[in-house]
């Protein structure tokens, strides 16, 4: 048997030992950062097509998440101005009419890269790494850049300013989108991702590891790296052989760079360490983005350089066959209400189903469009009255005034049909929409959630994946 196969089997054995209850609770111990990437009131928005307006049959399965911006509580992209000196805003008068200061509340949580600057008029303005932050008056939708709404990538629909943009098939929409306006000179999007300010040896990168709710270090294969929670010189890893944890091997001639160091091991292997913590990969991670080693060793955690916000009472748990899903603290699966798109090739059934499309989630909002038994079985995930948008999380106000947590555009729900932690019994429950159905009587524009679906639409319940 190959060494790799032995490692894999060992990793799986560890998983089996740890999953007597069929789930793993994500410990998510941040090794390198004790604070989440965003303070309350600052959110994260995927830019461009990652918002999910472009629902072509092929593109739906691969929504790019190559640029994630810091945004204000409404989801509007934040910018920095090149002419601003550190800790001060030079954008006043006419400039400030186009570029609106991102106002920080009096109780703004500063710390780390986040601070507050006081403007000449006394207003408090958020700053990131000492650069004051602004929104752009021409941005009208989350994910916009320089006034270019990502809605132009999708079906003909109204953007946040009430202007029709985009193309699509349903109805008599125009084809194609408007040309992109350039971002005004001297302005930059305040990007949270990609992370570019960490000096790294060749082969390393920081990627979004959603299963660990973090931007984390990965190796040259894209495999998630784990850091040993012991200062250097670290003791030998307590790991039954054959060990599923592999040292992140450094070339013999490798040299330190930035916060990366090379550690000599007793077995002759040179191992990379970051900020004084030895780095490992886990044999149970089979693809980029996996974080299956979470919780598999008490001293190893995903090498998260930027942990992402998770509300109290929400966690990530490994499910039986769908990877990590969002759950309540009690382990009950969380769901989103989503709009179905036709998937040639049966793609809907593939592992984890369809990726979330924040724009569609926002269109659906907190109205699950279900009545009777459906309405009685599905319950909004309540947010505290004083909850604020943060990171990928938003807070929606329901018609009765209560608050509901929203993740990446989708309001979250629990299902009465789930009887115990790990149940996914509500996943893929459909509600069709065509004119002959009782719930469609009188409806003239049913469930047309800004998607270019050319066939009959449907809503369905889907597991909330990170």
């Amino acid at each position: 048997m190959s060494r790799g196969a032995i490692f894999l089997m060992t990793a799986m054995r560890i998983l089996l030992q740890l999953t007597g209850a069929a789930v793993l609770i994500l410990s998510g111990v941040p090794v390198f950062a004790s604070e989440t990437l965003t303070p309350p009131g600052i959110t994260l928005q995927v830019l461009g097509k990652g918002q999910g307006y472009d629902l072509g049959k092929q593109s739906a399965a691969a929504l790019p998440r190559d640029r994630i911006a810091f945004a204000d509580a409404r989801g509007m992209t934040l910018y920095t101005h090149r002419n601003d000196p550190p800790g001060k805003s030079a954008c006043t008068d006419a400039c400030a009419k186009s570029w609106l200061p991102a106002v920080a509340p009096t109780d703004a949580q500063t710390g780390g890269a986040w601070s507050v600057v006081t403007r000449a008029d006394g207003k408090r303005q958020w700053a990131y790494k000492d650069k004051p932050l602004y929104t752009y008056v021409k941005d009208v939708d989350p994910g916009s850049v320089g006034g270019n709404s990502p809605a132009r990538f999708g079906a003909r629909r109204k953007n946040g300013a009430g202007v029709f943009v985009g193309g699509g098939i349903r109805g008599a929409g125009a084809k194609g989108g408007a040309a992109e306006a350039p971002l005004p000179a001297d302005w930059k999007v305040a990007l949270a991702y990609p992370v570019t300010d960490i000096r790294m040896p060749a082969g390393f990168a920081v990627k979004e590891v959603a299963d660990a709710a973090a931007f984390a270090l990965v190796d040259w294969r894209g495999r998630t790296l784990y850091a040993l929670d012991e200062p250097l010189p670290a003791p030998a890893l307590d790991c039954q052989r054959p060990c599923a944890w592999q040292p992140a091997a450094a070339p013999q001639l490798a040299e330190a760079m930035g916060d990366f160091f090379v550690v000599g091991r007793d077995d002759g292997i040179k191992q990379w360490a970051y900020k004084g913590r030895a780095l490992y990969t886990f044999a149970g991670d089979l693809a980029p983005g996996d974080a299956n080693g979470t919780g598999a060793h008490p001293k190893l955690a995903v090498a998260a350089v930027a942990p992402l916000f998770m509300p109290a009472g929400v966690t990530l748990r490994r499910s039986l066959n769908q990877g990590y899903v969002l759950t309540t603290a009690q382990g009950m699966t969380l769901y989103r209400r989503d709009g179905y798109i036709f998937q040639s090739g049966g793609g809907h059934s593939l592992h984890r189903g369809q990726p979330p499309r924040p724009a569609v989630g926002r269109d659906i909002g907190t109205d699950a469009h279900c009545e009777g038994q459906c309405a009685s079985e599905w319950h909004p995930l309540a947010a505290p009255a004083d909850a604020r948008p943060q990171g990928f999380w938003d807070v929606a106000t329901r018609p009765d005034g209560t608050k509901q947590w929203v993740y990446q555009g989708y309001a979250l729900w629990t299902y009465d049909g789930d009887k115990k932690p790990g149940d996914l019994n509500g996943n893929d429950t459909f509600m069709y929409a065509f004119s002959d159905l009782p719930h469609m009587h009188g409806a003239k524009a049913p469930l047309d959630f800004g998607t270019p679906m050319d066939g009959a639409p449907a809503l369905y319940w889907a597991i909330a994946i990170p």
Binding site: M12, L15, L16, T19, A22, V23, I169, R170, G171, A172, L286, D290, N292, R318, L320, N321, Q322, G323, Y340, F342, Q343, S344, G345, G346, G347, H348, S349, L350, H351, D423, L424, N425, N427, D428, F430, Y432, A433, F434, S435, D436, L437, K444, P446, M453, D454, G455, A456, P457, A458, Y460
Partner: protein
């Protein structure tokens, strides 16, 4: 491992269980049970979509001259196709015909009128519309789905010559849709007697051989989701399994065909073959809205390439539905149907025992 547990249990010295042998099969082919014959569509087999679209334009009130202006030659003129993509009319305005099939003029597509169709007498009442099963020669067979769809080109075929739609659907789904498992438990499969038939969904999709055929002896984990767990009681007689009482069947499927496969008043005849496989017919009443959505969600692409006129299918299904009447309108919500499946022996394990992603 459930397959051939009897021998293992015996060798292990266990007390003789009430069920002496269990065999599990994975469904390796699934389709509507079709028996198309020459002459079974007295009004003719419905035309291909390009000719049907011209007919639809006539029904919408377009003149010959206007239709001629759409263009001629092979293929569908874009202008005609655009018209058909919004051929529903609501308050006189164009609308999506797949979302609003009742707002489309009924093209009155032809349906089957024939003696034979696979299936079962589901209602216990032989009527003038009933069929005779070509295999068992049971009369009073209820299979209005065969009548409704049987004159559509892509739904015509036989058990051996697979209909285009179902072949397409299976080809699309078999490598992605979680597989369906059938587990039989009986004291002795070589003798007549009772049998428990369990339908489940696996966590894995169908495993195939290099030639695309279903792989025997593969291993599957049973999805614990109760929505796809069905236990039915029946008996074996002469190697053929049937139910003691009509039951219900509910399996999660895929919205490409139907999100859920639901049959009520189920009857079946499944044959244990000498080569170890299991195949046969399952019949029952099925909500026709589930089927319509499978057609309609694909919109014009599906209509042009696979199914044919989708609002026309809506009217056929609605017209021939024969069970579960709405208490107010009287419109039947379900249609009698018969499906054919082939399955090969596999191993199955309770999914709770393992967690691998």
């Amino acid at each position: 491992m459930s397959r051939f547990c009897g021998l293992v249990c015996l060798l292990a010295g266990f007390a003789a269980p009430a069920t002496a042998e269990t065999r599990t099969f994975v469904v390796g082919w699934f389709s509507q049970a079709t028996y198309s014959q020459d002459g079974d569509c007295p009004g003719g087999v419905n035309p291909d979509i390009s000719r049907q679209y011209v007919r639809n334009a006539h029904l919408m009130g377009f003149t010959k001259e206007q239709i001629a202006a759409f263009g001629k030659g092979k293929g569908l003129p874009d202008s005609l196709r655009s018209l058909m993509n919004t051929r529903a009319r609501i308050d006189g305005k164009p609308a999506n015909p797949y979302s609003y099939p009742s707002a489309v003029v009924d093209p009155k597509l032809n349906a089957v009128s024939a003696r034979y169709a696979y299936g079962f007498d589901l209602d216990g009442a032989a009527g003038p519309k009933s069929f005779e099963d070509p295999e068992t020669h049971e009369t009073g067979v209820d299979n209005e789905l065969a009548r409704a769809l049987g004159c559509m080109r892509s739904f015509r075929g036989s058990l051996a010559s697979r209909p285009t739609y179902w072949a397409w659907a299976w080809g699309q789904l078999k490598d992605s849709q979680p597989a369906w498992l059938i587990t039989l438990s009986a004291p002795d499969f070589t003798k007549d007697g009772p049998v428990t038939i369990t339908f489940d969904r696996a966590l894995e999709h169908l495993r195939s051989n290099a030639d695309g055929s279903p792989r025997a002896d593969a291993s599957y984990r049973i999805d614990p989701d109760p929505r796809s767990h069905n236990v039915l009681q029946g008996h074996i007689k002469g190697g053929v399994i049937s139910l003691d009482q009509p039951g219900a069947l509910h399996l999660l499927q895929n919205p490409l065909v139907a999100p859920e496969f639901k049959l009520s008043k189920v009857k079946m005849r499944l044959s244990l073959r000498p080569d170890g496989t299991l195949s046969g017919i399952i019949g029952g009443y099925q909500p026709w809205a589930d089927l319509y959505f499978g057609f309609a969600a694909g919109g014009p692409t599906m209509e042009v390439c696979i199914t044919g006129d989708i609002p026309g299918l809506y009217y056929l299904l609605k017209k021939h539905a024969d069970a579960d009447p709405d208490p107010t309108t009287g419109q039947n919500a379900s249609i009698s149907a018969a499906y054919y499946l082939e399955s090969v022996p596999v191993f199955a394990v309770d999914a709770k025992q393992t967690v691998t992603n």
